[in-house]
């Protein structure tokens, strides 16, 4: 065992800033990466949840003729 106390451990022989700076940023990045992927996935799943009901219509969407005639409702 190299360390006689926690303080010594955190001091890292005077190089604490450098050593812990490296490790802290590394773990921050790793955790950040994981969180970002999870977030990307959650937004995706949420979006799918929203269009859940329109699945059939969504996959069968072929052209817009119908939509155009729908669209001709009075405006002004």
């Amino acid at each position: 065992m190299n360390w006689s106390s926690w303080a010594e451990f955190f001091a890292m022989g005077g190089y604490g800033v450098y050593v812990w700076g490296s490790y802290a940023v590394t773990f921050a990045c790793v955790i950040g990466e994981i969180l970002l992927i999870s977030k990307r996935r959650r937004t995706l799943v949420k979006r799918y949840g929203l269009i859940h009901d329109s699945v059939t219509e969504d996959t069968e969407k072929t052209s817009d003729t119908k939509e155009i005639s729908d669209g001709q409702r009075d405006f002004k």
Binding site: M1, N2, W3, F9, M12, G13, G14, Y15, Y18, V19, G21, S22, Y23, V25, T26, C29, V30, E33, I34, I37, R40, R41, L44, V45, Y48, H52, V55, D58, T59
Partner: protein, 247 residues
């Protein structure tokens, strides 16, 4: 529905396979990480030249190795995707890039933090450092190009071309930088290495390298699953998943 099942089969089955593999790699990565950190901080002795600062090695070297290794893997998958038009391999390449860039950044970051106490400066224009910096640019170029293109098919192919051109260039860059630097002999410092590395140090380092690999695999699989979902959103099998709510 005239959707070609053959084409969609691969990502669909890979999606669930990857889902099963992720926990496995995550657990191994975590175990190795704990072991590596334990060896690194509590078993490995103090270096007689560098004091405790050398303990940065346990993340610096894995990060530096992974950064280079992942680039090659990325270019490989991208090339396969370009040559055989297999979408899954292109998605793999896309998924690898951010992790590769992350490791490159970490190599630079930890290297700088190591350099300050050892060399007295955050940065020198040393050959190895410079080529690592260029590697970061290559990753970023790949990612920005893909981000700038909306059509995924085009993004895959364009990314593949730049990745392959980059991979041809990496040795050229590496050697030219080496030559540029040594010809000049300006900077008196270079990456110094502990003369004889204690075997526990080496063990700790290698354990951390394996931990990084496992982590990279897990995280890349996780990302590739999201990418598959995004890209295949209008296929029957995703619709099926959606109906069941079983992502």
């Amino acid at each position: 529905m005239a959707i070609n099942w053959y084409k969609y089969a691969a990502p669909a089955s890979f999606y669930s396979l990857a889902g099963k593999m992720i926990p496995f790699f995550t657990i191994i990565a975590f175990g190795l990480l704990v072991a590596g950190l334990y060896i690194g901080f509590f078993v490995a002795p103090t270096d007689f030249q560098q004091g405790e600062a050398y303990r940065i090695i346990f993340i610096h070297v894995p990060a530096a190795w992974m950064s280079m290794f992942l680039y090659v893997v990325m270019a490989f998958w991208a090339g396969i995707g370009l040559a055989f038009n297999t979408r899954l391999s292109s998605m793999m390449a896309t998924a690898i890039a951010p992790t590769g860039a992350l490791f490159t950044f970490l190599a630079l970051w930890t290297g700088s933090l190591w350099g300050k106490p050892m060399w007295g400066t955050w940065w020198v224009w040393d050959a190895r450092l410079t080529s690592e910096l260029i590697l970061l640019f290559l990753y970023i170029g790949f990612m920005s190009l893909q981000a700038a293109i909306d059509d995924p098919r085009r993004a895959d192919k364009a990314g593949a071309i730049i990745a392959l051109v980059g991979v041809i260039n990496i040795p050229i860059i590496y050697f030219s930088v080496q030559w540029w630097n040594t010809l000049h002999q300006g900077a008196s410092v270079s990456v110094t290495q502990a003369p004889t590395m204690a075997s526990t140090m080496l063990t700790g380092m290698m354990v951390m390298v394996f931990a990084s690999w496992m982590y990279a695999i897990a995280v890349i699989l996780k990302r590739v699953r999201v990418i598959i979902l995004e890209r295949e959103s209008n296929t029957a099998w995703v619709a099926e998943l959606r109906r069941k709510g079983a992502f």
